[in-house]
């Protein structure tokens, strides 16, 4: 201590204090930003609207007869009522991978599709494809699980979706797969 009683430690420069504060603020902002990113990436996507899995039976009433008739009349083309399948039907898997599984979204179609592959016995989905836009194709499939060698009855369900990924209609195809 000096004779005047003041501390002998020199005071920190004001600029250095400001720098520390800025760094702390930036770090805090970085943490907040990272948290937001993590939240956005990990939150579950809202499930798109799913349509009935079969043809819908509508009971005609006096209240709805006009609207039902109008809906049918407005269908100038088959629209989503038909789907052109372009695919191989003999799928052989070595372990979980197949090189002869082939699915194309034919150019005549008007909707993006994806398909799920179900085991008939268990109802388990063993493969879900990415979206396949019109005009593109998928060559080869790797199942989500390895099945024991054998023959399996499956159902391949095409899901036709609109631009917002809402399901418009489906088409189910029975398919036998062979695991070697």
């Amino acid at each position: 201590m000096s004779d005047s009683g003041q501390s002998t430690n020199p005071p920190k420069p004001a600029n250095q204090n400001k720098l520390v504060v800025i760094l702390i603020v930036l770090f805090a902002l970085l943490l907040i930003f990272a948290g937001v990113i993590i939240f956005l990436l990990t939150r579950p996507k809202p499930e798109p609207e799913k349509k009935p899995t079969g043809g819908r039976g509508t009971v005609i009433t006096e209240e709805n007869v006009s609207s039902v008739e109008a809906e049918v009349a407005e269908k100038e083309t088959a629209g989503d009522d038909l789907y052109v399948t372009s695919m191989s039907i003999d799928w052989h898997f070595n372990g979980s991978s197949s090189t002869d599984a082939y699915v194309a979204n034919a150019v005549e179609n008007t909707r993006t599709v994806y398909f799920d592959l179900y085991l008939v016995d268990t109802g388990e989905i063993i493969y879900s494809s990415p979206y396949i836009p019109v005009g593109e194709e998928l060559n080869g499939v790797t199942l989500d699980k390895t099945l024991d060698p054998g023959t399996y009855d499956t159902i391949l369900v095409y899901h036709l979706v609109d631009d917002d990924e809402n399901e418009l209609s489906t088409l189910s195809i029975a398919l036998t797969i062979y695991v070697e």
């Binding site: 043809g55 039976g57 006096e62 150019v107 489906t170 195809i173």
Partner: protein, 330 residues
């Protein structure tokens, strides 16, 4: 369904063509050939010639209307008390085949009712449907070549394992080899052929009890539902009678030996061509047998002398039985 990716970024992406394509051409190629796999043998580029392209109705194609009071004109009648109690299609159910092979399509249909109380009446009892009860007779008909709808099939199944089956055949489309020796050969629909497809139109029909109170199905909140489910399958139409056929690698069926109608079962153990044993070709892949078809590969054709003009006598021992086939090369 989370994080479903667009196929565009997948390594498996390719642009779809109307045909199965082969790999890059070999400049030594001079012609395409039909086969079950894409292979090159000598100067022939074999391409897959079994291509499936089948149009089928989706769930919206299976939509239908039940008109207990005969209010709609969907059946072409307008309000008509005599049409009261009818069921009609409101979707499009036309199947179409543009495959390179004749196909047999099978549809397995069943009706699901959310109340669990809907009675499905079969055709035999259609006239006995009780109009005061929760009963329908839902049918599916197929239009024949004359444009008339064939006899209906009543859907009486209520689950997948009791589904009602409808089977029909459709003829193949006309295909041709495309591409060239520089870009590689393809097998594709012949676009010079008009209406290059065959189709099978179907429709839903039937009757619904006209005096039953169907209000549960018309409720604005949590209405009861009736849905028609379908699972389709298709495959190359079985050649009948199933018998021993001899095919060369180009797919030509040369001889159909009509035995008892069942495809011979067993392992191919011996082959002779014109009296000469060609059994060694089995191990080399020059000749093989599967499902009623004795198939000679390109190399097997050459090795066995089947590329020579004239009549050739072939024997094939499958299991314990020797079969005789004749091939005439012109």
């Amino acid at each position: 369904m989370n994080f479903k990716k667009i196929l565009a970024v997948s390594a498996a992406l390719t642009l779809a063509m109307s045909s199965m394509t082969v790999f890059a051409a070999d400049t030594s190629l001079t012609e395409p050939g039909a086969g079950s796999d894409e292979t090159i043998s000598g100067d022939v580029n074999y391409v897959k010639t079994t291509i499936y392209k089948v149009t089928l109705p989706t769930t919206t194609g299976l939509d239908f209307a039940l008109d207990p009071q005969g209010l709609s004109s969907l059946d072409g009648s307008g309000y008509d008390a005599t049409q009261a109690g009818s069921i009609v299609s409101t979707g499009t159910m036309t199947a179409k085949n543009e495959s390179s092979v004749d196909v047999t399509v099978t549809g397995k249909f069943y009706v699901a009712d959310s109340t669990g109380k809907l009675a499905l009446v079969d055709l035999a009892n259609k006239d006995k449907l009780d109009n005061t009860k929760q009963e329908i007779c839902l049918t599916i008909q197929q239009k024949n070549a004359d444009g008339d709808f064939d006899d209906a099939v009543a859907v009486t199944g209520t689950a997948a394992d009791s589904a009602t089956e409808l089977t029909f055949d459709m003829d193949k489309a006309t295909y041709k080899f495309g591409g060239d020796k520089d870009s590689g050969y393809t097998y594709e629909l012949d676009t010079t052929v008009t209406d290059n497809f065959s189709s099978a139109e179907m429709q839903i029909g039937g009757i619904v009890a006209k005096d039953y109170d169907w209000s549960a199905y018309k409720a604005t909140t949590d209405p009861a539902t009736i849905t028609l489910h379908a699972v389709f399958s298709f495959a190359a139409k079985a050649e009948t009678p199933a018998a021993l056929q001899m095919k060369l690698k180009d797919g030509t069926v040369l001889y159909n030996f009509n035995n008892d109608g069942a495809a011979p079962e067993g392992t191919l153990t011996a082959v002779t061509v014109d009296g000469t044993s060609r059994t060694g070709q089995i191990a080399k892949g020059g000749v093989s047998y599967s499902g009623g078809k004795l198939v000679f590969s390109a190399s097997g054709i050459t090795s066995c002398g089947l590329d020579q003009a004239g009549t050739h006598n072939v024997t094939a021992t499958i299991g314990d039985t020797e079969y005789i086939l004749v091939y005439t090369k012109e």
